[in-house]
Assembly symmetry: C3
Homo-oligomer: 353 residues x 3
């Protein structure tokens, strides 16, 4: 695949200068770009890299003096992060999944697969599954009975879609993602130590010698449109109602959503985030890597939490959080400053006394 | 599938009232229940939901006035959490795995599979594997040479059971669980920086330019009866002895157990918990989501740790823990209260001086 | 398989005493060793165990009185941890993957597989893939188009190697590891709440009602020689350049590396570590379990971080870190000591006033 400067500029809605007919084959960092690469140098700090590399064409910051940079052509962008999304979408060859249904895929006769599907080898699709148009399903995937998936799905290797799971259009699942594992819900015949601790905040009482009885998951998982689930992430089904994820929400790798969790729309849950059972996240919530959300709490719309934040209690709309346990980010910063001074501070006060 | 009111009440050992012959098809939350659903409303707070929904039958809290709630029949439960386990067990259709051995499963001639097995497509079962009666093995599973698994196993998609792993009866493994990966154990020919830090608590000394040499895992994993392993969890084999998990213990999704770890019986390890190599957990230990346990330590029976607790040192029997590093839960709460006041407190003291 | 005492001693470069012709079948802990086992008792503290067990041969600490311990032969080691690597390498039977290419493996005609390969069933190898000599590839693996892997690879069940990924010699991947998932990179057309928080450290401003647009990953993953990746770990491809891992680096289970991350050589990343996008780790960095590294930061050579450390800012070469947020280990210990005294300390000061 290659692309002309004018094609790229058009797809980004960006201005160009110089020879619009030059064709490039790949994007590259400025310093390592070859003569057929498009150097990505959307900030002044990459100017030096351009000199080291051999690119004839670059994507530059608005107002850059492209000729002084020794280029034959240039494309100018205003919001580089956003331009990257357009550029990479254009140039991504995507995974190689042959059109049609591979002879080594096992698809139940009752399943309905929409037009234009590409389904790889060793895929298993169960009874009464419905998949929309233009699905791309890579090798080793399984989609269990009565699951339904909308149009334009991209489902990568060894993804597991459980029974009765319902997913909207534009779904992307990275390899190993599991949608619809059973919830982790166990109960003892009599009150357990954990229940006592929750009631008393600290005393487990006499721990009984009881075994855990399983609560099965009768609910499924409901997922809106344009949702992406990261590699090896796990989403449990609900107990009675469905676990649910709203439109436009994106989950990174190794994210865990417990049973009955509700995630709103346009949320970002970064790598290794965990949300415990029955908690509810509003819309546009952003949780950085390794955040944790306690069970049965509510995290309001537009909450943003920094890396590793552990949210134990309800968080109001718009709150910016950090810490374990989570506090407002500015409070966290104040506390950390105080903490670093604390040992010396305590020593000095004791000398005073 | 549908169920009569009397069948449900009998299976729960619960009292019923009204027309015991009405049949329901599924459990539902009260407000969204249709006329053929069983509304699950085991607490007074769900009474309003019943009015919104169309259920004719509900599971109610003990003493509820079912007729005033407009129902045709009702089942009464004393311990709702426990009743849920019975109800959901009754109503769970379970995964759809066809009886018998799928023609696309590859089973070594030397393997012994007990009566009543259901083994899905693209399964690989190695030499001298032994699996008990009534096993249900979903697609894409592999069970390596000399592994043995007891009766009534439910092994879901793409679970990996490593060589020589031994598992008791009633085993459940959610999709993607890996039992018997190699331990993470590496050593340098000469003392490494990490070893020096552990000895001196803080000084890595001159870091040598050494590479890590692998210690292979000769041990396997031993798992008792009635153990469940969550989706994409990973359990490493031991170095010489087996990594082991006691009867009745349940692991949630994305849990990691390092090599040589011993987990007692009836423990609950919630989502994303990690236990480092050679540590030992007693019986009935409960670790909430994202807890971590340092290597080579001991966590006593009946220890309960809140979300995100990082346990660095031995924890005595019955201790309730929270925090990073873990302290007793009440101490943690005291410390956090003090911390929130600390910045202002330090400021006020400095003004005094 | 069995091994003579002299074979074992030779392979370890260790001294032996007694009957060098005795053969043993397996390594065992001293107390549970049978007469045909090799007891592993490299420290004085295992002497009692030897009396309980039935071993005739043991690996002992230097200078041990083997005859007084009732043994017929003994092997003496100076650095036990290192000796374990040699012993376990010698005795590990390795996974059972039949030589040659299984008839149920699907290998594209354009792929080049080196001599001596053992490739299991239900494996998928894509176009123009190149794999070196003596590769062992277990069942259910997929290796996507244009990936290249060096000699002596051991790739276990359901590992996913993405398109264009380049890997050196001596690669080991535990089951479920995913190399080359798409990066987690999303952008809003206008500035998002997260961007505002990063600029102002605390104020998300008016949260706009925007959806996330995907930045595709055009880069791949580059991995050096002698790298091991743990079970269910996930490594994302880069946006423009490759995500990269240096020679000799080892990743444990459930580790997450974001897009564009660079990890140096001979690093150890323990279970559930996460490194966010575009961060750079130097050489010989050791991150204990559940550590997190913020995006776009630099962690210097020889940095060592204790369990659960969350590194938010650049860390200089050789620093030993602990805590959330990470501080120098000795500062962390000082702070924690102060913290435990803090509630009482504040109370006493208030009484003074």
């Amino acid at each position: 695949m290659d692309f002309s400067v004018s094609e790229i500029a058009t797809s980004l809605g960006a201005d160009l200068a110089g020879d619009a007919t030059i064709r490039v084959r790949a994007a590259a960092e400025p310093a390592s770009a070859g003569p057929d690469d498009l150097a990505v140098a959307m900030d002044l700090k990459y100017a030096a890299g351009l000199e080291q590399g051999q690119a004839r064409v670059a994507i530059l910051w608005a107002g850059a003096d492209w000729q002084a940079l020794g280029l034959k052509a240039a494309i100018f962008v205003v919001r580089p992060r956003y331009a990257m999304s357009g550029l990479t979408r254009l140039m991504d060859p995507g995974p190689d999944i042959a059109p049609g249904i591979h002879p080594m895929a096992l698809i139940d006769d009752s399943a309905e697969i929409g037009d234009g599907a590409a389904i790889g080898p060793f895929v298993v699709i169960g009874k009464d599954v419905r998949i929309g148009a233009r699905a791309r399903v890579a090798s080793h995937v399984s989609i269990a009975e009565n699951a339904s998936i909308g149009d334009d799905a991209l489902i990568l290797q060894s993804v597991r879609i459980g029974a009765r799971v319902r997913i909207g259009d534009g779904f992307i699942a990275q390899p190993g993602a599991i949608v619809g594992a059973d919830g982790f819900s166990f109960v003892t015949p009599e009150k357990s130590g954990v229940e006592k601790v929750r009631e008393t905040l600290g005393d487990a009482g006499e721990a009984g010698d009881q075994s855990w009885i399983r609560t099965h998951s009768l609910g499924a998982v409901s997922i809106g449109n344009n949702v992406e689930i990261g590699a090896n992430s796990t989403i449990d089904r609900g107990t009675i109602r469905d676990t649910s994820i709203g439109d436009g929400t994106k989950l990174d790798n190794l994210v865990h959503l417990g049973h009955n969790v509700t995630v709103g729309r346009d949320c970002l849950l970064c790598g290794q985030v965990g949300v415990a059972g029955s908690s509810k996240l509003g819309d546009r919530v952003v949780l950085a890597g390794q955040c944790g959300v306690n069970d049965n709490i509510f995290v309001g719309d537009d909450v943003i939490a920094g890396g590793g934040t552990k949210i134990f209690t309800n968080a109001p709309k718009g709150r910016v959080l950090l810490g374990y346990p989570a506090v407002k980010m500015d409070a966290h910063i104040e506390i950390q400053k105080a903490l670093r001074r604390l040992p010396r501070f305590m020593k000095s006060l004791q000398q005073d006394k």
